[in-house]
Amino acid sequence: MTRFRKLGQMPIWLTVPAFGILLIVFGIPILRLLLTSLNAPALSVANYHAFFGQAANIRLLVQTVEISVVATAICVIIGYPTAYLIVAASKRLRMVLLVLVLIPYLTSLLARTYAWIVILGDNGLVNKLLLDIGLISSPLQLLYNRFSVYVGMVHVMLPLMILPLVSVMLGIDKSLMAAARSMGARPFAAFWRVFFPLSLPGVRSGVLLVFILCLGFYITPAALGGLGDAMLSTFIAAQVKSTFNIKLIATSAFVLLAIAGILLFMLGLDLSSRHHRAAKKERTSWQRRVPSFGTLARYLNELAAPYRAKRWTAELFQARDEIYLTKQIGAAFVVLVMSFLLFPGAIVMIMSFSAGAYLEFPPSGFSLQWYRSFFGDASWTGAAWTSIQIGIAVTILSTIVGTLAALGLSRTSPGLRSVLTMAILTPITIPLIVVGIAVFLALVNLGLIGSKSGIVLAHSIGAIGYVVVIVSATLANFDRRLEQAAKSMRAGPVPTFRRVTLPLILPGILGGAVFAFIHSFDEVVITSLVSGFSIRTLPLKMWENIRHAIDPTIAAVSSLLMLLPVLWIIAIYFMWWRARPKHVPTAATADIG
């Protein structure tokens, strides 16, 4: 009995199922991949030599990095001000804006990519509009070039940049800015010296997230780019499907991983503190060199004080117009960004009701023909059903395993916790195509290629990561003393968990489950590698459709998929916001009495 209790007290056991799955489906194969790339057992860098010896490979690599860097940079440039304006907005407006950012984030990637094909194509909305008003005489080449790749990638990645930025910015104490202003800092100085350095961690995680996703996510560039816009990940995926040169695949995968590693290393160090240290050092050496300059500056500063005071007073009364203008510009900017994020979805939805034989905007008439064609076609409904089945299985497996792991992690020492958490999160923090290759190898060994259980395992390693992140966040806010309180009232470990811990972390668990389902339901990169020929999930079917023939049915599918995030948001709302204590009507009357 006591031994059993001791064993139960070792929280690390709770992470065993998660690490078991992770190791078998991802950890061991990726090590084997590394060894293969190093020509094991001979161990040489011959493969890398061969890889870099080919000019075509280097071109591909440079192109991959270039596209990823540019897309990330655009995301920062658009995302930072957007996040700032969202945080600065009133509480209610902020909620609305966040939901507007979340909707595209939760929408099927393929549906969004498809939307851009429709909008930017030769007969697409933009060209048609420009032709109609006579600005151009023949359609512009907007699709299948670098421009469309960037538009599509930024559209996919922007929410991933904005969300971490917002979460960090919300944590910055507003009184710090007020304090800076009270010390005479002008608005920009206050922003630059106080707010910006504090927001750098958000920039860092946003950049990491977006850049690494760009490296490994080849769907959007492959769908929207031309032949000249191929990325290394596209090349790897093609290799798996065609020649299957394992050495070349392994080598390219680790080259991609190395690029991600370099960025992680560069940004992994704490940017803000390094920045501070450098600045301090600079100032001391600078002061030593010109010792009198400081005194002079102080003297001048003192002379200027009355003028400055006068200017401040003037500004106090004058600033209204300026502030008004800034606000207008900010509002316009946010509206622009939000339309960019939401517009494509809306267009596809409207077009899906078109009555013509092909997609057009505005639709010539209203018809449900494409929806009928979706529900009437067994290959579409079959794919949807497969996706739902797999999604549910993934959700159940990863929610249980991930929650156990999060509970175990929350009880280990902080040092061990961060190492283990990082390990669990690898499948969602390294380039997707690399994960895909590793999972592919694992499932080949297990004989699970082309089976539903294989796909469930493949999806679960990522989904577990999402569950762990969300449940851990909930547990961080969970007061461990409540468990102690329960124990002091004679509740054993099991009743304590069932009656106290579980109900209080349930919103986090359900939130994790939603994200696990979304992850599985939308996953296409790994699935396309491991599905073999027998299984067609909905994203796979859509992907095929986008690549080969544009069957307008996909518009109907996309619109249906765009309704899902609304459902998700309602579900998450009910789980998280409603989980807060309800106000009992009798309480108010009791107050008066």
Partner: protein, 365 residues
Amino acid sequence: MLVKIPLPAPLAEGETLEERLTSAEIEFRNVTKRYGEVAAVKDFSLTVRRGEFLTILGPSGSGKTTALMLLAGFASPSEGEILIAGKSVAAVPSYRRDQGIVFQNYALFPHLTVSRNLEFPLEMRGVKAHERSKRVERMLERVHLSDFRQRMPSQLSGGQQQRVALARALIADPPILLLDEPLGALDRNLREQMQGEIKSLHKEFGKTTICVTHDQEEALTLSDRIVVMRDGRIEQTDTPEALYDRPATRFVANFLGEANILDDADFKVESDNELPAGTVAMIRPERICIADQAARMRADAQQRQAVTGTVVDMIYAGPLRKYHVRVGSGVLITRQHVGSGQKIFQPGDEVRLEWLRSDLRFVRA
């Protein structure tokens, strides 16, 4: 009203009533708790009698909460043992220890109503539903919260939450009650009110109570005995009055109330006998009279000592005035009751400070 008194267990063979009433309920035997290199509690030995209200008092980081957590079973001692009712509890997990605990921030279950919170300990002990609701009703009435039974903890004020926490700790009738900084989260007025509430609950239920606090006033008001802790060790254990009047060490003298330490650095202490090695003289501010320099010494001059000095500061604090008086190179603090008709001094005034020789105390430095 009919008062139901739970019958005590029959006396064991050879046990006398006297023994039963004064026997040790809780005993710490040379308990040490280390976290890595740091010892939070060092060689802690303490006996708590049945029905006693004992307070562990100390600054933050002195190990007082650790001692409580060891007793509650949320941590286990690195050395030594803890006995409850004469039996070692080393192998008893926290959920079998039968203690009621009021946590620092109450730890009320946020997802359960007030009455469900109170029911929890009864449910865990397998009490039947109708019996549970009866006992919850009775307890709610006792703490004047009957109107709030359907509220969630977040809808209660601080004082109400505190009363729910107390009720929840007491409802299952555990023999031992542990209070961890029970009034720390309340404002001053409420704190005084709740002190009274805790005192009356203790009188009524007679639980052996251990309270941990850093608030000296709370400790003095509530306790039968106080344990003063410093750096994981017990500094002194005594009744509130003895502790205040005869502190053993300079630390206790300073921590419990204000103290004028008359050490050689600032004051030339003349004594009839040599001071015992390692001790200094101490006097409480309220034992020092402040008077005009010209005033004559009272008749019983034999028993008195006097010094002269200059007022450097006068602080008005409601019922009393506090003077800081420079004497030689040191400063003595004294108090004067407002409305006692005595002369009021201002900074710069030359004054004479007088005290009874018998009011001097000698404490370990």
